[in-house]
Amino acid sequence: MQAEEIMQLVSDGDKNAFRQLYVMFKDRVYNTCISYLQQASDAEEITQDVFVEVHYAARNYKGEASVSTWIYRITVNKCLDRIRYNNRQKRFSFISSIFSRDTGGMIHDKPHFEHPGAVAENRERAAILFSTIRQLPENQQTAFILKQIEGLSQREIAQIMDIGEKAVESLMQRAKTNLRKILSNYYNSKEGF
């Protein structure tokens, strides 16, 4: 059965159809979430949020975009919202750390992240890549994650981000240029030690 047909059943309140939809998209949603949030617990929570929203918003799905595009759009928006929330928390952690009984350190700093899907010999390199992705502006981050990590086509990314294909291409170029700059600086600072 096609995702669009399953979606129709979900909007009619069919529980089995919802489970089918979940099975169909869970890996894509979770993988996108973990690439953005770089923490399994956050990725799990946002994956839950995405499917809860899919369940409740199924009736509003008009079929203007494919189900995949629609679910990716919800995922990207929820991930970006969580990143903004985490950043606000990080700023606030300076004040809250004063009142923290234990370490008093920056409690919201993300630990070193290793993507579970990375090939063993590339784990370290991938960890460096993810720490640099965090430093990109939101739209460049989205284009890079959807293209390089999720392996989506330029057209799919354009539909998800609601921009033209040329704009996606330009975002990708800017993302790569910025990543190269950040990585070069990192390489040279490492050399200095």
């Binding site: 489970r19 979940y22 869970k26 890996d27 894509r28 979770y30 993988n31 973990i34 690439s35 990725a43 799990e44 994956t47 839950q48 499917f51 809860v52 369940h55 409740y56 606030f92 004040i95 809250s96 750390s97 004063i98 009142f99 923290s100 009984r101 993507h115 579970p116 899907g117 990375a118 090939v119 590339n122 390199r125 991938a126 460096i128 890549l129 640099t132 390089q148 990590i149 790569k176 990543l179 190269r180 990585l183 070069s184 390489y187 040279n188």
Partner: protein
């Protein structure tokens, strides 16, 4: 040579996820989603003690600053009123030729 090494290293990092697979969620995730759908509004948020303390301290600080400002303002007004009375008497006395 050094530039080549650097470029190679950068490109290796950029392509480090090329052959990567996906990350998969835990099996119990669906049950969690189901529970949230069945009881949609039970998900509460607890405020950590540190956040609560910070907010309380900010409020106390704000009240103290306002009280200090209010006291200073009252004192200033009081002094201003006193000096106007003194000034009034000085002028009146001068007019009446008392020159006190």
């Amino acid at each position: 040579m050094k530039q080549n090494d650097e470029n190679k290293w950068v490109e290796d990092i950029l392509n480090s996820m090329d052959e990567a697979g996906r990350a998969y969620p835990v099996d119990s995730l669906y049950q969690k989603i189901e529970r949230r759908i069945e009881v949609p509004f039970t998900k509460g948020r607890t405020i950590p003690l540190s956040t609560f303390s910070a907010a309380a301290a900010s409020i106390v600080l704000l009240v103290i600053v306002n009280v200090i400002a209010l006291i200073k303002d009252i004192r200033w007004r009081h002094q201003d009123a006193l000096s106007s009375i003194v000034q009034y008497y000085d002028i009146t006395n001068e007019k009446n030729g008392l020159g006190l």
